[in-house]
């Protein structure tokens, strides 16, 4: 594994880890029992994916997935800002999930054809899970967008609030360009058209209107995060930090 590849695996792993963590905050508090179970399945899938990507990312330096998850400070995390957004109401949580899932399925589908066998293997497994995630979150976005006056208003508010965090997923950088040139990963920008098409269709069906602005917050991949990540890590890493000599 080259430095580049480790870094890229970290991005994928951190996305899955942080989003899984956010979803796990709902466990026991979701709007219906069936939904509680279903959302936790997504959280568990993402947690499993995080483990695989982080193992891959840490292998060269002999760091375990746990080392990476529990012993890095916020500035060393490489997730997109979208996934660290606080849960908000259930509509925000589902909208964040859909925006991510619609990107994730395209990214994983391309990664499953990576020239790096390690990447391809993890992506192929994760792609099956992500296909179900996006089917689920898209159907919920459509139903709630089209549902009652209140559910429509909540979903539109969620889309307005989260839209500026979606663009970062498609921003290329030097690392991305190098790995894309090697055939290891898809260029970030190359995923945009498919995402635009699929989300456009879903939002139309959901009677939701994406904001016209193309403005995108960015910085997550460079370790410049929002204020939301610190408290999340403080909670997640508490035991490992407070009792560094312990094993669990």
């Amino acid at each position: 594994m080259t430095d580049d590849r480790c870094e890229y695996a970290l991005r994928l792993g951190d996305n899955a880890l942080i989003l899984s963590h956010r979803l796990s905050e709902w466990c026991g508090h979701a709007p219906a029992l069936e939904e509680d179970i279903a959302l936790t399945n997504v959280a568990l899938d993402l947690l499993g994916q995080a483990q695989l990507w982080l193992e891959l990312a840490g292998a060269r330096e002999g760091r375990s997935a746990d080392d990476l998850a529990y012993r890095r400070d916020a500035g060393a995390f490489r997730n997109a800002l979208l996934v660290e957004r606080p849960n908000g109401d259930y509509g925000h949580t589902l909208m964040r999930q859909y925006l991510f899932d619609a990107w994730h399925i395209e990214a994983l589908s391309a990664l499953s054809r990576s020239r790096d066998a390690g990447f391809a293997e993890i992506a192929a497994k994760a792609e099956k899970e992500a296909a179900y995630h996006v089917e689920r979150s898209a159907e919920l976005v459509v139903a709630l967008g089209d549902g009652t006056h209140e559910s429509h208003a909540r979903m539109q508010a969620a889309l307005d609030a989260l839209w500026p965090y979606a663009g970062e997923l498609f921003l290329g950088d030097a690392l991305d360009a190098r790995l894309a040139a090697e055939g290891v990963v898809p260029a970030a920008t190359s995923l945009r058209a498919a995402w635009d098409a699929s989300t456009g269709a879903v939002f139309a069906q959901a009677t939701l209107t994406p904001p016209a602005s193309a403005f995108a917050h960015k910085g997550g991949r460079a370790g410049r995060h929002s204020e939301a990540l610190g408290p999340l890590l403080a909670q997640m890493q508490f035991l490992q930090r407070a009792y560094p000599d312990a094993t669990w």
Partner: protein
């Protein structure tokens, strides 16, 4: 508060080509939602399974006792929801 999501019965055929078997029930707004919930609740999404869902109120059942009177169609539901509401209260 609006009305409750209806009850569905879930039937699953495992990998070995056996008949679909009743595994339990759940609540969902329509058939597609019921299928999705069934995957999440009863299969944890193992592949290769075939799932049937049916509205509980659409299932017609035989009379449980041979000597019982012939039941009216309305009485054929497995899961009647009448009468007991006020009596079930105190723990």
């Amino acid at each position: 508060m609006s009305s409750e999501w209806p009850l569905w019965e879930v039937f699953i055929r495992g990998q070995h080509g056996l008949n679909h078997r009743h595994v339990g029930s759940l609540h969902a707004v329509d058939a597609e939602h019921a299928l999705r919930n069934a995957r999440d609740v009863y299969t944890r999404r193992h592949e290769g399974l075939s799932i049937w869902v049916a509205r509980a109120s659409d299932i017609v059942a035989s009379s449980p006792t041979d000597d019982g009177p012939r039941f009216a169609p309305d009485d054929a539901r497995i899961y009647p929801h009448p009468t007991l509401r006020d009596e079930a209260g105190t723990p």
